[in-house]
Symmetry: C2
Subunit: 414 residues, 2 copies
Amino acid sequence: MALIVQKYGGTSVGTVDRIKNVARRVARYKAQGHQLVVVVSAMSGETNRLLGLAREITPEPDPRELDVVAATGEQVTIGLLAIALNQIGVKARSYTGGQVRILTDSAFTKARILAIDEANMRRDLDDGNVIVVAGFQGVDDEGNITTLGRGGSDTTGVALAAALTADECQIFTDVDGVYTTDPRVVPEARRLDKITFEEMLEMASLGSKVLQIRSVEFAGKYKVKLRVLSSFEEEEGPGTLITFEEEVDMEQAIISGIAFSRDEAKISVMGVPDKPGIAYAILGPIAAANIDVDMIVQNIGAGGMTDFSFTVNRSEYQKTLNVVNAERGAGLAAKDILGDNKIAKVSLVGIGMRSHVGIASRMFKALADEGINIQMISTSEIKTSVVIDEKYLELAVRVLHKVFELDKEPSVLA
Amino acid sequence: MALIVQKYGGTSVGTVDRIKNVARRVARYKAQGHQLVVVVSAMSGETNRLLGLAREITPEPDPRELDVVAATGEQVTIGLLAIALNQIGVKARSYTGGQVRILTDSAFTKARILAIDEANMRRDLDDGNVIVVAGFQGVDDEGNITTLGRGGSDTTGVALAAALTADECQIFTDVDGVYTTDPRVVPEARRLDKITFEEMLEMASLGSKVLQIRSVEFAGKYKVKLRVLSSFEEEEGPGTLITFEEEVDMEQAIISGIAFSRDEAKISVMGVPDKPGIAYAILGPIAAANIDVDMIVQNIGAGGMTDFSFTVNRSEYQKTLNVVNAERGAGLAAKDILGDNKIAKVSLVGIGMRSHVGIASRMFKALADEGINIQMISTSEIKTSVVIDEKYLELAVRVLHKVFELDKEPSVLA
């Protein structure tokens, strides 16, 4: 008997019939003797409908109240799934984030989980119940409803698995695992049987849609065994297991996959004084405005001046520009402030990169051969990312998938 | 400066534009210096949509989980109204029933309010906020979400007014007050400037749609000044004030109004032993099944036998029949069990009835003149009710409205 946390996303619970399917799947696991905690998202389209109502009133709704509205999406799903489970004879009890109590900070619309009280769930599990928990939401220490931001239901699943020291956290989604890249862009993309946490972290943070980054961070931090599975197959396959093993064996590919993201925008602050503290002067107020900065590039200074570029999520492009322009108005010396929100990021990810040289140059050559200009470069031990013009995105991904032979079973590349 | 509780029903908040209208109305009261607590229902149609989803899964959803689903309707509205208020510069904070904390018993789908914690609302009111509270919902002492049953938002409004000792509880609805009867049935129906609590209680319990019965009970118990107003007029009129005065002055009409209800069903248990305890033997199990019984009539016994009839809400007709049949199976001696769910109830209501005789006989004659057979009769100090065939309902109401001259301004009838 294992304690399993399962998470079902919006498309998996998108209709009443699909919710009944999920109930039957949960019942199968329960019949095998497992204890089950099931985390669900809002029915697909519901979160957008709710946010749409709020934005009909004003484009910038009060964030506390927006969370009150948005949190209802998952609440409907937990009630419906619990009804469906009880109806087929599986005892089930639903929990909102506040009822669990999933304690978060008070950063409305993008809150972070601080603690999970698992006492009530344990009691109900021990009474033979399936626990159905609303993803994506929590409460702060004043009892205000918070949401974790889009996709946050994965994080809820992993955090619950960690709090309950579950044997496995299964993320059911509309794909049957993690692929070398998005099969919609590259039909030859191949499902990976396993991938390391580090790679998955890079894949997620770089825009792979399968899992949300924060959930992978959580999983790594608390050593939660994570598996991605399809909820659309009658009998699920093995999916992709996300592992802690980091040794590169002979069969380990150098590159595991290619991640990409369109949700990017670039800001360049040109001609700022090349002196200590300049990065903080520029990025401090951006962090204070709760904007996540991704890539940061500072050119070598010349004549005491330097250029400073960084990327943010495209949805925060205008807000970021406003902050930087306000800084400039408040005394930041800068010749010019440039922005571009028609960019994309493409990244090679692979634990094997550590022990192989020349990966980056092969990547740059492949892109150059197609006439694709590289605007920014960022590297880490296991990934190499480039920012390019958005219009070349698909071409770049296809070319790199081919050059690094990701359509083939792993073997050591020279 | 007064503390006012306002309640807006589903049609008043049925669209984003109407929610904005409510926000502007609330802002007007706020600008006059009042403190405001605003209770809202789900957007019209939303509760039915949610219950429909649950019933797509099973006709009899688990009640605890049904409440989890249903409670989201009001939660969406409180968030949207708070967003609309903040957007026009009126500081507002939303509260779910659990956040207030409106403590109820655990009778899911028809819970009763036990206590209201007003500390948080007071603090936010004193900070200059408008408080927006979800009607129709609460939490039990284990933190489970409960709902008060359909129309329960009125009760929430009155209960909050009582807890906060508000100066007035204003119920905004789609009519501009309480009428002598439903104007859709009798176009000559007249708006009453005021009506006593006792009359209102009878009007509500007998099926007038303006206010929900439990809210009127609450208002009477806690002496809450209640006013019914229209939310569809730009500048609201005086509405109908519900008063505590019970003296009948010369201008007081004998009959204030005619209430009626189609939501009735009749059960007759024929030929039961005429002995002590028989009423309890029949009605005890029905009360235990949480079914509300309305009228009860027991005929004079003959030959040691008697017939026993009662009415229940039509939605509980089948359930009630099942209970009675089960009783019979378990030993209740009865010759026959008859049921009829095509009945209606019509009631004359008036505080003036107390000091006037002959009202009932005038009523019966008027109905007899139209060939309408009376199936059951029930009287109290201030009302006389009859059960008739449903198909005569409109005719009966029109005839009685005319005979008792309710279309004319009050004067003493002989």
